[in-house]
Symmetry: C2
Subunit: 147 residues, 2 copies
């Protein structure tokens, strides 16, 4: 009605805000790239190896098979690898190519969109390499000062 309790108003504001945040493109992007395996797959297919120490060559996008990825990203479970690859394909960031050999061969490759995202990630990587040491140092200082 005309009058709502303060609690009701607050609840409504919260619901609206959450809806707004959920709709925000930046938020959606963050949700996508914050996934542990997304970034690693991107890096693997982006041809500089999976964060291979200092290897920063920007060559051709690589095509990799499921098992190759599985071996390269040693920490990933089959479930998560499949799930992540599927979601990346769904978003048009990678292509999935099935070759009907016996047994089947499946290979993955970055699309232009995926490559573009990978490029953006490099900017993020640069910031990380430039400033994360400071952050870590601040963190250590804070902890000793608090302890």
């Amino acid at each position: 009605m005309a009058t709502m309790t303060a609690a009701q108003q607050k609840a409504q504001a919260k619901a609206e805000y959450n809806a707004f945040v959920a709709a925000c493109p930046s938020r959606k992007l963050l949700d996508r790239i914050s996934d542990k395996w997304v970034t690693l797959i991107l890096a693997a297919l982006g041809s500089d190896g999976p964060h291979q120490l200092g290897a920063d060559c920007a060559g051709e996008p690589r095509s990799m098979r499921f098992s190759e990825l599985s071996r390269l990203l040693a920490g990933v479970s089959q479930k998560m690898l499949t799930q992540t690859l599927r979601s990346l394909e769904r978003d048009g960031l990678i292509t999935r190519t099935v070759t009907p050999t016996v047994p089947v061969t499946v290979s993955y490759e970055l699309t232009d969109l995926g490559l573009s995202l990978h490029q953006m990630m490099r900017g993020l990587k640069t910031w990380a390499e430039t400033h994360m040491d400071d952050v870590l140092a601040n963190r250590a200082t804070y902890d000793t000062r608090t302890a």
Copy 2:
């Protein structure tokens, strides 16, 4: 010893890889910014309002009080706001200033490091605004094709 079972080798590789990923600066940065409220607080203190539609003025970093933030980020719980602010302070991304009035006044402001991070986030935001529509379209296509 000299011989390990295949399972043992795999487990070790996994452990090493996970350790490697955990140590990666990019990963740490991602962990930080992927937090829902971190980005919103950064945006709020970064003076363009919390993703206020199209308001992209890059003015002076703003100083805001706890209650202001709480009101602005309508969806956040007290617990998460406190927790997030604390962690940002710990990382040297924001400063926390207590003024001993009665009752106390606490204000938060971006540091240079925080401002730099906020600047980087804008690059991310730009990518999101440019390409997320494509991603969403791909997603929709994939879903209808699958359904």
